[in-house]
């Protein structure tokens, strides 16, 4: 096991979501769930992050942002799509400005369903993301 599984740093990006999933992501950091127990840190800077956690769908305006953030993350890196909108566009999928899920723009490793996704499932998604991270590290190392 490498250090990646003990120290996954997360970058949380909110696409065009209703903020329901974002509230749940933040709930993971609260005393009730306390993901820092697993070394998870919510960094807020792509250059520091290992896991890109996206909530909400992509639209015309944020495609560029999502791409840039993903590009600026150093390898190895994984993407976790949190919630129905991030996975597929959700109930906004047919809206005039929405492109669909995150996988329309960047490769997604883990899909976390739910509207909004529960903190438990988000944590589970991150744990699966860690496994993917580990795999990618081993493949490139």
């Amino acid at each position: 096991m490498s250090f990646f599984s003990r120290s996954p740093w997360i970058l949380h990006y909110d696409g065009s979501s209703c903020n329901g999933c974002d509230i749940e992501v933040l709930a993971c950091l609260t005393p009730l769930y306390d993901v820092e127990r697993f070394g998870v840190v919510n960094t807020g800077n792509p250059k520091h992050a290992d896991i890109l956690l996206v909530t909400g769908s992509v639209n015309e305006r944020n495609i560029e942002i999502v791409r840039n953030l993903y590009r600026q993350m150093p390898d190895p890196k994984v993407v976790v799509a949190v919630g129905a909108c991030a996975c597929s566009g959700g109930i906004f999928a047919r809206a005039y400005n929405v492109q669909g899920g995150i996988d329309k723009v960047i490769p997604v490793d883990v899909y976390v369903p739910g509207c909004a996704a529960r903190p438990e499932s988000i944590i589970d998604g991150v744990v699966q993301g860690i496994a993917a991270l580990e795999l990618k590290h081993r493949m490139t190392a």
Binding site: V66, N68, L69, Q72
Partner: protein, 644 residues
């Protein structure tokens, strides 16, 4: 050759070169004379020092024991007449009044026969301090003259409105060197005063070179302030003329001065303070920044201002332990503190260099005033390292200014990618000015240690000033370093900029950069062989070691000496820049620092340094410093009379 004759040759040589230069207007010929003359002067300076060897000091008179006779009063008349004439031409009142007052004093002394006949064998005095000064003037000065060939060519190309008077310019540079040499070997005070006034007038002419209304104003400001200092010098001579041996500098400064001599010492110190541009007389040096850069380099690194601190260091044993000495020290240290505060608010790089110069000189003045062997050691060390690093910096900023058309620190953005080799030179100069293990930082460290043993509240105040002043120094140099070291992708045009730097500039600036590094590497040698023995001789103190360099310190010093320029060159060789890919909250940021903005717009990224707006006001600090130092200076002169 004997020591006296080689010293006379040293003083005469630049004067002769200057005279020859004034005869030739043809550029190629002039350049050749400047280069050959400069090299000869440097060789002569080295020869002088080699002849002097390791002696403690020597006195001598004119060749063949000639008496000075009426020479001084005749030269004095010529200088006064010149000042009066040029002031009338430009309708200035103060300068001729000051010059005439000084001439009146000289005339009174001469006519009334108050001036005792000097000992013809003791007109000149050379010791280790003179030798340090001769090397500083004789090695750095010619490099600046040679550098000026390339600089002035670019200068007149970029400013065609300015009428070229390069013949006069180069001639003056050499005459200046001659006057400086004369000044540092004089022992008879009236003789020294004549050289002192020649440097004042040369600097006046050099500052006013472009003859625009602006520079003429600054030139007269410099003239007025320095003539005022010269007047103080003159009055001191009057006071000393009634004392036995009073006009003999070596006897005067043999040890702590008797009470009757203190007023004269105070006036001489006053002259030194004006010349070294301490507050309240700092504004002349700032104004002088409008002159061509080689002028700044010559006046503010190796000559002119160094004449002021040279005199103060000479006086140091006499001021030792007196109230006058303490007050002189406070003028210097307060100047250091206040100009450092002003410097953090300044955008013009040349002015930052100017404030830093005044601050370094302030440290020397502070050391000279206290008058202990340790602090004299510090003062001379700062003279050496400051002269090297600051002349390099002024020349480099001149080179940059002529190629990028800016002196503003904000526009030096990414200098490393535009002019990598020039940047490396710049970095060596800046490192030499403040980074921990270079000479000046070593000197500051020793100064703090020495102030530690100054008793009473004065010692505490000095240490507080050192602590805050040094921190401010780190701040303003740090800002400049950030600007230089930052990088961006350059255009083809920008890539070619550096190729237009002339070889005169490369050679001279490279030589000075090597000088900074070599002096750092040899700091122990300089201390043990030259500066240490000087301090012990001047204060008649018991032999001891000033700088106990343990291997750890030496290691840190040498590694830091080469760190920044090495890193700069490293990155210059590495072409894999990825400057477009910085984090901008997810926005695309591309070449040329253009960022995507809201609603599809684009915005240019402009990064501006902190100038401590709202916390430190440069203008207020300058005025406060001027008033505070003026008050201390007045107290100093008053104390010399009151406290016997």
């Amino acid at each position: 050759m004997s020591l006296p004759s080689i010293v006379f040759a040293l003083v005469a040589l630049p004067a002769i070169v200057g005279a020859i230069l004034s005869l030739f207007t043809q550029a190629t010929l002039r350049n050749a004379i400047v280069v050959i003359g400069g090299l000869l002067v440097a060789a002569m300076a080295v020869a002088t020092v080699a002849t002097f060897g390791g002696a403690d000091g020597a006195f001598f008179g004119l060749p063949g024991n000639m008496a000075l006779g009426q020479t001084l009063i005749v030269v004095d008349f010529g200088l006064t007449a010149f000042v009066v004439a040029i002031s009338l031409k430009h309708r200035r009142v103060l300068a001729p009044i000051l010059a005439l007052a000084q001439f009146a004093i000289a005339l009174y002394l001469e006519v009334a026969g108050r001036l005792p006949e000097p000992d013809p064998q003791r007109l000149f005095w050379v010791d280790r301090l003179s030798m340090v000064m001769i090397l500083v003037i004789g090695l750095i000065g010619p490099l600046i003259c040679i550098n000026a060939i390339g600089y002035m060519r670019a200068y007149h190309r970029s400013s065609p409105m300015i009428q070229g008077r390069r013949t006069v310019f180069f001639s003056l540079l050499f005459v200046f060197l001659a006057a400086m040499f004369g000044l540092v070997v004089s022992n008879y005070l009236p003789l020294m005063l004549v050289f002192w006034e020649i440097t004042t007038i040369c600097s006046f002419l050099l500052i006013g070179y472009t003859r625009t209304d602006e520079t003429i104003g600054y030139a007269f400001r410099a003239l007025n302030m320095n003539l005022l200092g010269g007047l103080g010098f003159g009055v001191a001579i009057v006071l000393l003329s009634s004392q036995t041996g009073g006009l003999d500098l070596a006897i005067l400064t043999h040890g702590p001065a008797a009470g009757a001599l203190l007023p004269a010492i105070a006036l001489l110190a006053f002259a030194g303070i004006t010349k070294s541009a301490q507050m309240p007389f700092s504004s002349w040096l700032i104004g002088a920044m409008y002159a061509p850069s080689p002028t700044s380099a010559l006046l503010h690194s190796s000559t002119m201002v160094k004449a002021g601190v040279f005199l103060l260091l000479r006086l140091s044993p006499a001021m030792s332990g007196s109230t006058v000495g303490y007050l002189v020290a406070f003028v210097g240290l307060l100047t250091f503190l206040f100009v450092s505060l002003v410097a953090v608010t300044e955008q013009n790089t040349k002015k930052v260099l100017a404030y830093s110069t005044i601050g370094s000189l302030g440290l020397i003045v502070g050391c000279a005033g206290i008058g202990t062997p340790e602090l004299a050691w510090v003062g001379v060390m700062i003279i050496i390292f400051h002269a090297l690093a600051k002349s390099l910096l002024f020349l480099v900023i001149g080179t940059i200014e002529q190629r990028l058309y800016t002196k503003n620190m904000e526009n030096l953005d990414a200098l490393l990618s535009l002019m990598p080799r020039v940047s490396a030179l710049f970095l060596i100069g800046i490192s030499g000015m403040f980074i921990a293990p270079f000479g000046i930082a070593i000197a500051k460290w020793t100064a703090i240690r020495a102030f530690l043993s100054v008793p009473g509240p004065a010692g505490a105040a000095m240490i507080l000033i050192m602590a805050f002043g040094s921190s401010l120094t780190i701040f303003y140099w740090g800002k400049l370093l950030i600007k230089i070291l930052s990088a961006r992708r350059q255009t083809d045009y920008e890539r070619s900029i550096e190729n237009r730097v002339s070889r005169y500039e490369w050679l001279t600036e490279g030589a000075l950069a090597l000088g900074v590094i070599a002096a750092t590497a040899c700091v122990g040698l300089i201390s043990n062989q030259v500066v240490g023995p000087y301090a012990l001789t001047a204060f008649a103190a018991a032999p001891r070691v000033f700088l106990a360099i343990d291997p750890a310190i030496l290691l840190v010093m040498l590694s830091a000496t080469l760190l920044l320029p090495f890193v700069a060159v490293l990155s210059w060789l590495n072409p894999t820049y990825d400057h477009s890919d910085f984090y901008a909250s997810g926005r695309s940021a591309n070449v040329g620092h253009v960022m995507g903005a809201a609603l599809g717009g684009i915005k240019r990224v402009t990064l501006r340094n902190y100038y401590l707006d709202g916390v430190v006001s440069g203008g207020l600090m300058f005025r406060t410093g001027t008033v505070a130092c003026g008050a201390v200076l007045a107290a100093m002169v008053a104390a010399s009379v009151v406290i016997r």
